[in-house]
């Protein structure tokens, strides 16, 4: 089998058992890799009703056929599980150097099940795999843990760790890697922590077989050459992802003060240009990536100076404008605090902004916050709340369940301003003026995340007040973009610099030896999308349209100021978007896949199971 290492590593932490299983052609042919493997194993091995933080959940860490291969940025690892944030399928991906290292160690995916009785870490050195004690690491920050393991094992080991937030099962705890990259979303860190698994350390010395080395060299050379000659490359190398902030503000999409607004008056203090001028001290790249979007920054606060990778756009939007911080250095410091504690910066920014607005409205008081003056613009408040959340102390114990959990505790008024879908906090694009983007958030299979279908540019191109006809573009994106997560390759080179999709279509056969066309691959992506939806339908009898609905703020409140002042989206608009979307997907009016759709996608067993349960017709 080309493009793959050929093995699945299964680790049963309860039994202390480690085993290898052959990677089957059937799995590869149907699910490609990465998130596809995650969806397959989570659907087939996590029993309905299982506690996301219980031993029955699976943590699936998977690369794909392009990972670790000499082509632009084959650097992505997908991490999947039943999410403690949503109770549904969840995944998140991380760049850096983990994906290739896993394959060099002969592993395409790790499936972790059970729970160790004592804190442990997984040690992988090619074929030598051990569950080792991590009692000396438990309680340590994620960055510190990586430092200690690198010192103990050697710098060539690639490390994935959790921080205190993961140990304490914060539902938006992330998994850290390479000192500054995270599988941030869906609480994968909490799943890892619930298994008492503090870290994974891996070193590999093997190669990755490819089907046609000359063909690979030919396609990859063209791709690298086109990237190096692209006029946009230098700006990426200079500014990284922070360049997005001022643009998002200019089009009125920048989350501001808990998404109440979408235009931030102090945006210049958060710009990528200012970041480069004031706090950037170096660049950092993932495996085989010429873009080097990672920016190492120095930031000081409360007499402490830290070195942090970032902030990139999402962090700047959610922690910066959404919490009304005024300087990029403040955002960078808060970024460090989250990284060390092991908190997803997107959700953390949402949660703190939610607290700040509830505090402003009098829904909560200093009595609730334990004396913290939780006002917009306060970095002190952000840092204090982050520490409480990571340790589930005081108000942090409520906030550790995300804005959905906290709004249940704080009542109806707070739930209208709890910005999430399905329990996952909204990422960096306020979408009242971007209907297709709104739909993308509503229907994203893991909750309110942008990476499956980033369609703001489509709204700008065809009209921001246009509702009808936009669902098809969202569906199209939801099939193309996740393919990259299946391949184990970064999509920035395509999305941002316009590297043609045809290159990736050519890469697939030369790497894997399989003759799938691009259209065949899109069908596989659609299969995976329907499988994660089927997981939700199987999981909850009442799962349906209401789970695809955005927070009330977005249809009850028109945009208050900025370039889109007065702009609004109505409930009728949202229903029109969903009706078109469900029809385009072959789902019923309640958002459940029809049996015929599942069968068309080769998911006969899934259709049969859901039909017998009375969940689909």
């Amino acid at each position: 089998m080309y493009g793959y290492a050929g093995k699945i590593l299964r680790v049963d932490l309860s039994a202390g058992k480690i085993s290898h299983e052959p990677l089957t052609e059937e799995l590869v042919d149907n699910y490609i890799g990465g998130r596809g493997f995650g969806a397959y194993y989570v659907y087939n091995e996590v029993p309905p009703g299982a506690d996301p933080c219980g031993p029955d959940n699976r943590l699936v860490i998977a690369s794909g056929p392009f990972a670790g291969v000499f082509l632009p940025s084959g650097a992505k690892t997908s991490i999947s599980a039943k999410s403690p944030a949503t109770g549904l399928y969840g995944d998140s991906n991380v760049g850096g150097h983990l994906a290739g290292e896993l394959k060099y160690a002969g592993i395409d995916a790790i499936i972790v099940e059970g729970r160790t009785p004592v804190p442990s870490y997984l040690f992988i050195d090619d074929d030598r795999v051990e569950i080792r004690s991590a009692t000396h690491l438990w309680g340590k920050g994620a960055i510190k843990t990586e430092e200690v393991l690198k010192e103990e094992l050697g710098d060539e080991f690639q490390i994935a760790t959790i921080g205190p937030a993961g140990e304490n099962r914060v539902v938006f705890a992330c998994i850290n890697h390479d000192f500054g990259r995270q599988a941030g979303r869906c609480g994968m860190g909490a799943v890892m922590g619930s298994k008492n698994l503090k870290a994974i350390a891996v070193r590999g010395t093997q190669g990755v077989p490819v089907a046609d080395m000359d063909g690979l060299k030919s396609v990859a050379t063209v791709m690298f050459r086109e990237l190096m000659q692209d006029p946009g490359l230098k700006i990426w190398q200079d500014l990284g992802l922070a360049q997005v902030t001022t643009w998002a503000n200019s089009i009125a999409a920048l989350p501001t003060r808990n998404f109440r607004e979408n235009f931030y008056e102090d945006v210049n203090g958060l710009s990528g240009e200012l970041m480069k001028e004031t706090i950037v001290v170096g660049d950092k790249a993932c495996f085989a990536c010429p873009m080097a979007t990672g920016k190492l920054c120095k930031a000081s606060f409360r007499g402490k100076t830290v070195l942090v990778e970032g902030p990139e756009y999402e962090t700047t939007a959610l922690i910066g404008s959404n919490c009304a911080l005024r300087s990029i250095e403040e955002v960078a410091f808060a970024n460090y605090v989250c990284d060390e504690l092991g908190l997803d910066t997107i959700s953390a920014g949402n949660v703190v902004a939610f607290v700040m607005e509830c505090f402003e409205k009098g829904i909560i008081t200093k009595e609730d916050t334990g004396g913290i003056e939780a006002k917009f613009g306060s970095l002190d408040a952000f840092c204090d709340l982050a520490h409480l959340i990571a340790r589930r102390e005081g108000i942090g114990n409520i906030l550790a369940d995300g804005v959905a959990g906290a709004s249940k505790a704080w009542g109806e008024e707070s739930s209208r301003i709890a910005i999430h879908v399905k329990g996952l906090e909204w990422s960096g694009y306020e979408s009242r003026g971007a209907p297709s983007m709104m739909l993308a958030y509503m229907t994203c299979d893991i909750g309110a995340h942008h990476n499956r279908a980033w369609s703001v540019t489509h709204d700008i191109a065809v009209g921001r007040d246009i509702i009808k006809g936009k669902a098809a573009k969202v569906v199209e994106f939801q099939h193309v973009r996740p393919l990259f997560d299946c391949f184990g390759v970064c999509r920035l080179q395509w999305v941002e610099l316009g590297l043609p999709l045809e290159h990736y279509a050519k890469l697939y056969p030369v790497v894997t030896g399989m003759d799938d066309s691009w259209e065949d691959l899109l069908v596989k992506s659609e299969r995976i999308w329907n499988l994660t939806r089927a997981f939700a339908v199987r999981e909850r009898e009442d799962f349906g349209r209401a789970d695809d609905w955005p927070p009330a703020r977005f249809y009850e409140e028109p945009v208050p100021d900025g370039p889109l002042a007065g702009f609004r989206i109505t409930e009728d608009d949202l229903n029109t978007l969903l009706d078109e979307y469900y029809e385009a997907r072959g789902w019923d009016e309640n958002g459940r896949p029809k049996a015929e759709t599942l069968i068309r996608l080769g998911l006969e067993n899934v259709a049969s199971e859901l039909y017998k349960m009375g969940r689909i017709s």
Binding site: I235, L241, Q243, W247, H450, V495, L497, G498, P500
Partner: protein, 77 residues
């Protein structure tokens, strides 16, 4: 005056009417924003502008013969 706009590939994928470059005619004192409008690009379509290897502001005056590279908005993944 005449200004040349060069379009990034990802932008050309969104807007069918764009080729690799386009020359637009503008009045003296026109800004980069007016140059984009002359190319039939809606507000917000452009992420960044580059000229002479530096960032060009949207409200910056442009000059005859200037070449501006127009890059699309980016998503960050």
């Amino acid at each position: 005056m005449r200004v040349t706009l060069r379009f990034g590939r990802a932008l050309r994928e969104i807007y069918d009417h764009l080729g690799e470059s386009m020359e637009v005619r503008l009045k003296e004192g026109a800004t980069a924003k007016e140059a984009l409008a002359a190319a039939n690009l809606p507000e917000g379509a452009c992420g960044l502008l580059l000229t002479d290897d530096r960032l060009c502001k949207i409200d910056e005056e442009v000059t005859h013969g200037q070449i501006i590279t127009v890059l699309p908005p980016v998503s960050g993944g």
